[in-house]
């Protein structure tokens, strides 16, 4: 339990630190929010009034405190540009990002686990070399470049999938999924490559362990040794990497979202920064950070489930 609480406190501290730093950074931006809000024709009196209304005359710390108090109540403020509540805007964009993320991870894992196992088991064989080369190529392709290539072949030439656009789930599951497949594959192929390489490396190391020799000496069949004895102890680095991927994707799928015109969090964030919509930026950063930290927290818990040696007593030499 102490382990759990320590992690939780750590999580809260990281979220506070990130949002505070964002607040300060946004404060540094060379733009006058009050001017923007008051509009082109506003007099200096209007601007001053807006400034007063938004509390911009207070110190950064005071404003951060106020924002934090609001956030704790679930109130993330109102967009300066659209006057829409920030929470609402995020709620409408988040599902798109989550769907992309989930599909991409499913694709990536579904490919990486079998491929990793096969190439570790048959290390240095032609199939391992082929998989390895494919992975190496994929790792070197930026996901946006891959997206362009995929669009060119599968949308423009073969016309299997739409090139851009998002169809809400309310208009049917297939149209929705169909629009998501290319974006998800663009992300998944690059991730598959790194996941597979990591799994292969760890699995080869595990297969050299004495307990694998022992299991083979017990006469167990190969598939059983690979799946039951070798896979679990080999999956820690892959799990860590998966956590990092998901964490980065929550806020980092901007380019994919832009290419495929998906209304996700990433695009909301970028457009908010461009329009200097600070409450919106702040809200997005909060959601992204909480997501990142929560995923890593889950990964830590998974370690505990996968490996019983979570904490060992110090030993005397």
């Amino acid at each position: 339990m102490g382990f759990f609480w320590g992690k939780f406190v750590h999580l809260v501290v990281v979220v506070l630190a990130v949002t505070a730093v964002t607040f300060v950074m946004l404060d540094l931006l060379p733009a006058d929010v009050a001017h923007e809000v008051a509009g082109q024709s506003a007099t200096s009196r209007d601007v001053a009034a807006v400034r007063q209304e938004l509390g911009l005359n207070d110190s950064v710390a005071a404003r951060y405190g106020r924002w934090l108090a609001g956030a704790a109540r679930g109130d993330l403020g109102t967009s300066l540009v659209t006057r829409q509540p920030v929470g609402e805007a995020i709620a409408s964009h988040l599902p798109v990002t989550l769907e992309l993320l989930l599909l991409a991870q499913l694709f990536a894992l579904a490919l990486a686990i079998p491929a990793g196992i096969v190439s570790a088991w048959r290390a240095e064989s032609p199939i391992d070399r082929a998989l390895g080369s494919a992975a190496f190529g994929l790792i070197s392709v930026p996901s946006f470049a891959l997206a362009i290539v995929l669009i060119y072949f599968f949308s423009l030439r073969l016309k299997w999938f739409p090139a851009i656009g998002f169809t809400p789930l309310s208009e049917g599951a297939w149209p929705n999924i169909r629009g998501m497949i290319l974006p998800a594959v663009s992300v998944a192929l690059v991730e598959f490559a790194s996941l597979m390489r990591v799994l292969r490396g760890d699995m080869i190391a595990t297969l050299r362990e004495e307990f694998i020799l022992f299991a083979r000496a017990k006469g167990l069949p190969t598939w059983r040794i690979l799946l039951r004895h070798a896979l679990r102890p080999s999956s820690f680095t892959m799990l860590t990497l998966l956590g990092l991927h998901i964490g980065n994707l929550i806020g980092g799928a901007v380019i994919i979202e832009t290419i495929f015109a998906l209304p996700g969090i990433g695009r909301l964030l970028v457009s908010s920064i461009f329009s200097q919509d600070y409450p919106m930026v702040q809200g997005c950063v909060l959601i992204i950070t909480v997501g990142y930290v929560a995923v890593n927290f889950l990964v830590d818990i998974c370690y505990g489930l996968l490996d019983p040696r979570v904490r060992k007593e110090g030993s005397v030499g």
């Binding site: 102490g2 007593e313 110090g314 030993s315 005397v316």
Partner: protein
């Protein structure tokens, strides 16, 4: 003259109430070494035996001040190493050196073996490079390493035995008086082990060293030591001259250790039944009173209450036990 004779009678090393603890999880402490006392005369070799986890390596490092022990005193040549200031400690370091368990890992893979052997001269005395190279080559020849062949080699290009020779050379560079050997032969093959033990004995005589020789191998310890100390879970159980200890062990733990050695006699099979029942207790929560009582065949109720101190039962023969195995009792 009287000063000198006094110094001659004074032991080279005295370890008094040495305590080593380090933090474990949840604010607990590992009691690695708990109140160890012994002394080491000039020119003497003290063997320290014990099983893994008994704290013998922690004891060696505490004597080396790596890091300084939690409490207690380590007096070398009349100076307390645990209280001298860091500058003085650095100067004193030339007088006590260490040999490590894993000879290959004790050398920086990034540097040649010759350079590493000369490092003490550079760090402690600032000897210039030409002079260093000359003295290193001399010392390499003295420990049986061909300096032309091995000076420029990296540690992983040497065999374990050659690396341990280099380790001995490095420890001898500053002409120390005390050599702390932490399991110096346990990672070596038997044929090489014998070479290294012979070499250690030889350099000890040639350079007038005193040695603290740590090992889990009772045969090795008997061969090289004048006196032997037996350690169990952070405490000394028995300290005695080598011949006496092996001929008539007095502490039940020493007895069990000796009985457990395999003998080359198929007609006399190993005694039936466990030598030591139960498991080694945790060093985080050691048993009260005598730490060996949980596995001791002679344990009585009082063993859990009163901690036995080392007492002399024969000249030079010390034991920490309430019910020792004495002749005629």
């Amino acid at each position: 003259m009287s000063d000198r004779s006094l110094q001659q009678n004074e032991p080279l090393l005295r370890v008094i109430d040495l305590l080593v603890e380090f933090p474990a999880v949840r604010g607990q402490k590992v009691h690695a070494v708990s109140g160890v006392n012994f002394s080491l005369a000039r020119g003497e070799t003290l063997g320290l035996v014990g099983e893994s986890g008994c704290g013998k390596s922690s004891l060696a490092r505490a004597i080396m001040q790596l890091p300084r022990p939690t409490s207690g005193r380590v007096i070398l040549d009349g100076e307390d190493l645990t209280t001298v200031d860091p500058v003085r400690l650095r100067i004193l370091r030339s007088r006590f050196q260490m040999i490590f368990q894993d000879p290959v890992a004790s050398f920086n893979p990034f540097r040649s073996v010759g350079e590493s052997i000369g490092a003490p001269l550079r760090t402690l005395w600032g000897v210039d490079e030409d002079e260093r190279t000359r003295r290193v080559r001399e010392m390499m020849e003295a420990v049986g390493l061909d300096s032309d062949q091995y000076y420029r080699r990296r540690p992983f290009q040497l065999s374990g035995g050659q690396c341990q020779r280099a380790g001995i050379a490095r420890a001898l560079m500053t002409e120390p008086r005390l050599l702390v050997c932490d399991e110096p032969v346990s990672s070596l093959d038997v044929s090489v082990q014998a070479q290294i033990i012979n070499l250690l004995r030889e350099v000890k005589g040639r350079y007038g060293l005193s040695m603290l020789f740590i090992s889990h191998d009772l045969g090795v310890v008997r061969n090289i030591s004048d006196r032997v100390a037996v350690m169990y879970l952070g405490r000394l159980c028995e300290v005695a001259p080598c011949a006496a200890l092996y001929a008539a062990p007095v502490h039940p733990y020493t007895n069990a250790l000796l009985a457990a050695i395999p003998r080359p006699d198929p007609e006399r099979p190993l005694p039936e039944g466990g030598f030591l029942p139960g498991e080694l207790p945790s060093a985080i929560e050691p048993p009260s009173g005598c730490r060996f009582r949980t596995r001791c065949p002679r344990a009585q109720a009082s063993c859990s209450e009163v901690q036995p101190e080392l007492r002399e039962i024969a000249p030079g023969h010390l034991v920490a036990c309430h019910y020792p195995l004495l002749f005629g009792s």
